[in-house]
């Protein structure tokens, strides 16, 4: 407990700012009400940050939205919600509106959908200011610039004239926070505020929230699924599962000594950087590479009479047989683009690409047939990468039918059952449809489909980023097992460095379509040579409050 720099942890004040007592949210109507959360109780003190944690379906967002009664029309809340002792359940709509604008502010996951695209940032801010303070338009405009300055928006005088789509994701979230701060709220509710952002931007936004909190003394309720974020910002943690609170504890205590089995399992499932788990894959460097890019440039074709967009420059990447190469980078770094190139979905604009020893740079029909016999792909979102109108059995063997490797329905079905067995799903499920499966099960189907053609190279494009952590862990385990059994090479695309550490034999760090750094995983992550790699590693939150506080101090100092 020797955290010198940003140690705050004030003694918990006697009176809570927000008290949630036995709150249940029920969906339905008429006489049938179905509860989705059961008797939730917790509190937030002034100046305190409480994290509401849970996986999808745990009821964390619904609980947060119940505070301001921002629930859908077919939902109702019971129990007691008190803000500074004032009861909000059953309060008049007029009073609730005052509370919403003034005492409690909310920021959402995707600021683009929360901002009106036809109004400027300045207009949004002025509206927020004027809605609860009697000031002239000119004063409000001035205050708007001031607010943007407080959230460290670059060139705030210019940004007030911008429309939401002209800002980057991080800047939009800053603008949202500025709007939230306009009323100097006593409580800030942040619903997955950084989930849609890159790690380096996430770190900046979390720093900002922390800074504003220290200045204004507001309470913060942050809803998140990311244990790294929890460790980074929270004083206390409320863990939810299936609509119930399973554990409430001070942050440090929770991470050090989780009391509930579920919390333990959740923490164990989180991949952490520096955990010591390393890849089991063994690269065979004596054999010719499965995929070899030499000075490759990638271009997205432009529309009619417009030149294309160049998304990759001068790429030199090589994947040896049996090797797992992690492609890491933030959004817009071109990592998915490289995956699509390897799959033959994008043409080689310049340079040379070899797949399995054959030069496929020309991208002829025969080249594509060759690529598809060697390379296969697992997509990011299993909910949209499987055709909703086809059974999972059909989906799995479609690649075989399309490439005429298998034609009879009977043979396809048998092969599908075999593959389902490979990915540890019951064979009997061949005739089920994707919507009957959970996210993790669907991604298993996605992996089975990718395995159907016995590929030499598997391109996995963020295969677990749409999944809950505990599911992610299981899918990653399955992936490693299959890789050991079948020995395929893999291009593993991810933004999560801890996943790369666990899985990849070597790493390629990308930024703006260029390779920044590449090498063996342990070397790159433990001894990064490039500044960008260092920043990326420093920004990734670690699920350990003490370690995270150190890292934060280092980051802010350097």
């Amino acid at each position: 407990m020797t955290q010198p720099v940003l140690e705050k942890a004030p003694p918990p004040p006697a009176t809570a700012l927000l008290e949630i007592d036995d709150v249940s949210v029920e969906f339905g109507g008429g006489k049938k009400w179905k509860p989705v959360t059961h008797g939730i109780s917790f509190s937030v003190a002034p100046g305190e940050t409480v994290a509401l944690v849970g996986e999808s379906g745990s009821g964390k967002s619904v609980t947060a939205m119940a505070i301001l009664d921002l629930l859908p029309a077919n939902a109702r809340r019971t129990g007691s919600i008190r803000l500074d002792g004032e009861e909000l359940v059953g309060a008049s709509e007029k009073r609730l509106r005052q509370v919403r604008g003034c005492d409690v502010a909310v920021i959402f996951q995707e600021p683009m959908t929360a901002l009106n695209p036809v109004y400027t940032i300045g207009h949004h801010l002025s509206e927020a200011i004027r809605s609860h303070r009697d000031v002239s338009k000119a004063e409000a405009a001035e205050k708007a610039v001031d607010l943007l300055r407080q959230v460290h928006m670059p060139s705030p005088e210019e940004k007030v004239k911008h429309y939401p789509h002209q800002l980057s994701g991080g800047q939009r979230q800053r603008a949202m926070i500025a709007m939230a701060m306009a009323s100097e709220p006593r409580l800030l509710i942040a619903d997955e505020p950084t989930t849609a952002l890159d790690v380096t931007v996430q770190a900046e936004i979390l720093d900002l929230v922390r800074e504003l909190q220290q200045r204004t003394g507001m309470g913060v309720l942050i809803i998140t699924h990311d244990m790294g974020v929890v460790a980074d910002v929270s004083d206390r943690v409320v863990v939810m599962r299936d609509g119930r609170v399973v554990e409430t504890a001070p942050s440090r205590e929770l991470f050090a000594r989780p009391q509930h089995d579920y919390t333990t399992a959740l923490l164990e499932a989180v991949p952490r950087l520096g955990s010591g788990t390393t890849s089991s894959a063994v690269a065979d460097r004596s054999a010719p590479p499965v995929l070899d890019l030499e000075g490759v440039a990638i271009e997205y074709p432009g529309s009619w009479r417009k030149s294309g967009f160049r998304a990759g420059h001068d790429l030199d990447i090589s994947v040896a047989p049996g090797e797992i190469v992690g492609l890491v980078g933030e959004s817009g770094s071109g990592k998915s683009t490289i995956g699509r190139l390897a799959m033959g979905l994008l043409p080689v604009a310049a340079g040379r690409m070899e797949v399995g020893g054959r030069d496929v740079s020309a991208g002829s029909r025969a080249d594509l047939v060759h690529i598809r016999s060697q390379v296969s792909m697992v997509f990011q979102d299993p909910a949209s990468s499987l055709d909703p109108r086809r059974t999972i059995g059909q989906s799995i063997t479609d690649p075989l039918r399309w490439t005429r490797k298998l034609t009879s329905t009977k043979a396809c079905r048998a092969r599908a059952q075999e593959l389902l067995d490979d990915v540890r799903l019951p064979k009997e499920w061949v005739d089920r449809y994707p919507h009957e499966l959970s996210g993790g099960q669907r991604q298993r189907v996605g992996i089975a489909r990718a395995m159907a053609t016995n590929p030499r190279l598997l391109v996995a494009d963020e295969p677990t980023s749409a999944l809950d952590v505990s599911v992610q862990a299981a899918v990653l385990d399955l992936f490693s097992e299959l890789q050991r059994e079948h020995g395929f090479s893999c291009l593993f695309i991810t933004h999560d460095l801890s996943v790369v550490e666990q899985l990849a034999t070597s790493v390629v760090v990308l930024q703006h379509g260029r390779v920044v750094e590449q090498g063996p995983t342990a070397r790159v992550l433990n001894d990064p040579q490039e500044d960008y790699t260092r920043r990326l590693i420093a920004a990734a939150p670690v699920p350990d409050p003490d370690l995270q506080a150190q890292r934060r101090a280092q980051r802010l100092a350097g």
Partner: protein, 278 residues
Amino acid sequence: MRRRLAHALTPLRLAALVYVGLMLLVLVAAPLLAPADPLSQDVADRLASPGGAHVLGTDELGRDILSRIIYGARVELLIALGATLVSMLLGTLLGLLGGYFGGIVEVITMRVVVDVLLAFPPIILVLLAVTLRGPGTGTLIAAMGVLFAPTFARIAYGQVISVKRLEFVEAATAFGAPTRTRLFGVILPNISAPLIVQVSLTIATAILLESGLSYLGLGVVPPTPSWGSMVAQGQRYLSSDPHVLLVPGAFVVLTILAFGLVGDALRSGLDPKSRSNR
């Protein structure tokens, strides 16, 4: 699926469905169902009121109105279904190609063909076809088929634009599905629901247009019975014997209403947003 459909079926929609079923029965079994020959004249019993020997009365030439309605329904439905089939195939193909390939293909399909067709007033277009090829069932089916194609094309186009960006279409490309399979095996099944809804609505519109054309004397050639021409003939006896006009008029209204209601039922039944299992 079954639950969803059951949910979408209100009593009114069920009645419409039964009515549409009866119409389809008439289409195949008109000679068995009609009480008399629709063309045989009984001048002694002309303009008979409904009830009595002729259930729905007779017209000015003493022809049995019920039989003429039944045979008229046959012609009406044949043209409406034929035109709808033509427009569905043509329009869906145009929309699929335009939406999927974009670029110059889109310019040709969606701009040159579809937008130009939409710019024509419907009656003028059919008039043109009738003038060129002479009136008759075949002409009407072809002309109306072309006329209604743009609606299907636009629906298909919009759906393809949103569906083709989904990962499972890209997955199909990545796993080597040929273009034909991607278009007809992957995209088409996923855009079919709104097209099916449009089918029943187009049938209703086609019946209305055919009746209008026959009323103007541009539709089915007499003496073949047609609801539109029956209304036109009945006009003269509106004050003395209104049933000659009102009976076929009522059937036009009922039929259009029924197909419209079936369309509504399909819309809520097939709408993915109303899926109970999601």
